[in-house]
């Protein structure tokens, strides 16, 4: 009897592939390789660069690189997208396709918890905001700055010489320009426009002098010029971008040409229609919904090193009329709404100087999701193991069933 081949629909075929154990094994193997190569690369190219290369949602494909800069031709999908596929696989295979019933409740809960963990990491990757707030002892601050994101801010000064609220050109709009690109910027609140060009991601601002001349054809503005430098792969924070900007009036005529550099902490200025304006290129300023007063910062180093072994900041967090005191130490952050303040560093003061604390501030809507997922997973597994234990114990106490098999004497085969 021949068996006829049962035809499977395309949809079912896709479902089987996406929910299959094989896909889960492939995804986990890819994640192992990505983590392995990322760990190998990180000492050579820096933590931030490597994380961005392997785990950012913008990285669809990754080519691992050796320490000497040579590529290892093993193109891998980016970790973010592997985790997306793994999440789909976990949902379809671990929840939809999985067998249901109260005996399987524990594993279903655990699968759901792991899926929740993965979704939480995706939410974090896209929506998390983080920055740093540095405060000198005895001072206060109501803002953080986001490292590696440099914005151009343009503002006017009021009659008292104070700054008014700035218009912001975001780093994501400037970075794609490169040295040859150009971006025209108009403002809702201002009558002039900007033309941004010659963007250099790694640069220094130099003064034109007999001892420091610009390269041939390099533009010099007000005695200053930008030079391109090697990327600092070990300390990403030291990479400072720069660009040139032309301020134009409504007719497109040039008002002023400016050079902007991210390491210059104060604005440059120009005048337009009887009003003074400032332009600054700086790490993105992130206003906080609270004020932090730093009363005391102290800590200690590991013996014989400059590496802190512990440090603590005594702060007051002020939100309107509410004041709360905290002692922030490593691994014991302060929280406010969705914001978490971690002690990221402190600087001892030399004689006559003032010590300071640096806080890492994170606003992550999925901050607590991993904790909830682990609790749920633990409970699910505990339930599952209890069910298995009860079944096992119940099975060993039950009397063994005897199976009776009916036999008959074989018939004698007649011989002729």
């Amino acid at each position: 009897m021949s068996k006829s081949k049962k035809k499977i629909s395309l949809g079912k075929h896709i479902f089987r592939v996406l929910s299959g154990f094989e896909l889960a094994v492939v995804c986990l193997s890819l994640l192992f390789l990505l983590t392995f190569f990322g760990t190998i690369e990180q000492p050579w190219f820096g933590l931030w660069t490597t994380i961005h290369k392997y785990f950012d949602y913008e990285s669809v494909f990754v080519i691992p690189t050796r320490g000497d800069g040579k590529a290892i031709f093993l193109p891998l999908p980016g970790a973010y997208w592997v985790i997306v596929v793994l999440s789909v696989n976990m949902f379809l295979g671990g929840i939809i396709r999985a067998r249901k019933g109260w005996k399987k409740a524990g594993t279903l809960v655990s699968h759901f918890a792991i899926l929740f963990l993965l979704v939480g990491s995706a939410v974090s990757s896209v929506f998390k905001e983080e920055g740093q707030m540095r405060i000198l002892q005895g001072e206060k601050s109501d803002y953080a700055q986001k490292l590696f994101k440099y914005d151009i801010e343009v503002f006017s000064y009021d009659e008292d010489g104070d700054r008014e609220a700035p218009a912001i050109v975001r780093s994501d709009q400037i970075k794609p320009l490169g040295a040859k690109g150009s971006l025209g910027v108009s403002f809702e609140k201002f009558g002039f426009t900007l033309q941004i060009d010659k963007y250099l991601p790694y640069s220094e601002l130099a003064l034109d002098s007999p001892t420091s001349s610009p390269p041939k054809d390099e533009e010099v503005i007000d005695g200053f010029f930008l030079t391109e430098v090697e990327k600092n792969v070990q300390v990403e924070e030291r990479n400072t971008p720069g660009c040139y900007v032309t301020v134009k009036d409504k007719e497109g005529a040039t008002i002023q040409r400016l050079v902007l550099w991210g390491g210059n902490p104060y604005p440059v200025s120009f005048t337009y229609e009887g009003k003074r304006y400032g332009v600054t290129y700086l790490m993105e300023v992130w206003p906080m919904p609270f004020m932090v007063e730093l009363h005391k910062t102290f800590g200690d180093n590991h013996p014989g090193t400059e590496i802190p072994s512990w440090f603590q900041s005594n702060i007051t967090k002020i939100d309107g009329s509410q004041r709360e005191d905290y002692e922030i130490v490593m691994n014991e952050p302060a929280r406010h709404g969705g914001f978490t303040l971690y002690q990221a560093g402190f600087t001892r003061a030399a004689e006559g100087e003032v010590p300071s604390s640096t806080f890492a501030i994170v606003n992550n809507p999925s901050d607590k999701w991993p904790e909830y997922a682990l609790w749920a997973s633990a409970l699910g597994l505990l339930f599952h193991f209890l069910v298995m234990l009860v079944r096992f114990a119940g099975g060993s106490r039950r009397p063994k069933k005897t199976v009776s098999i009916e036999t008959t004497q074989p018939q004698k085969i007649p011989t002729s």
Binding site: H13, I14, V17, V60, F61, W81, L136, G138, E139, K140, S141, D142, Y143, F155, D160, G161, D162, R163, E164, A165, P166, A167, I168, V169, R170, Q173, P176, L177, G178, G181, S182, L183, G184, V185, S186, F187, E188, K189, L207, S209, P210, T211, D222, G223, F224, Q256, V259, N264, P265, Y266, V268, S269, T271, G274, V285, P287, M288, E293, L294, H295
Partner: protein
């Protein structure tokens, strides 16, 4: 197999080809924070409208240009040493005879402390390999202090410097110490600068 090809093609298309924008309109703003009240040297200033601010340097906390083609430089900085030594260094840049005592200098006040006025004119030799400049002038103010001096110096073509004289002294009076980042002590007492 077809599915794999489809997925690979989609992924390749998605990676690509995002062209940078050539023009944008900015509407985004943010509220003001203490960051917007940070000033070099913790002194807020109010320069004349026709003074244009340039990037600062290691020795130039505040760096302005004014006059025709920005030929006049106005620089504020902090330095070590004594008033007399710094005054003679400035006079030496114009080839003028060093003075023996600060009594020869004009007197004023800067940020609540006594300050000396140093003036000179002639051929300006800035040093550090820069070429000399004829018919230049300088008006400088040096604020005395036990730990560090604050200097404010205007240099440029003599006629342009003279035209900016009144503006310079008015600018000097505009300095206000800024301590918005300091925690107020209990009882409303504010920490004051020296």
């Amino acid at each position: 197999m077809r599915i794999l090809v489809l997925l690979a093609t989609t992924a390749t298309l998605l990676t690509g080809c995002r062209q940078p924008e050539t023009s944008i309109k900015v509407t985004e703003t943010r509220r003001l924070t203490l960051h917007d009240q940070i000033y070099p040297g913790d002194f807020k200033d109010r320069p004349p409208l026709d003074w244009r601010r340039l990037p600062g340097t290691q020795f130039r906390l505040v760096n302005y240009v004014a006059g025709k083609d920005g030929a006049v430089e106005i620089v504020m900085g902090e330095t070590q040493g004594k008033v007399l030594g710094n005054a003679n260094r400035w006079l030496g840049q114009f080839g003028l005879t060093p003075i023996q005592t600060v009594d020869y200098l004009g007197k004023t006040a800067l940020l609540g402390r006594p300050a000396s006025i140093v003036e000179g004119s002639g051929t300006y030799r800035p040093g550090m390999g820069r070429p000399p400049k004829e018919d230049y002038a300088m008006i400088g103010i040096i604020r005395d202090h036990p730990s560090n001096l604050i200097t404010l110096k205007m240099t440029g073509p003599a006629a342009e410097v003279e035209a900016q004289r009144e503006a310079l002294f008015k600018y000097m009076q505009s300095f206000i110490p800024v301590e918005v980042g300091k925690i107020e002590k209990a009882g409303g007492e504010e920490k004051t600068s020296e």
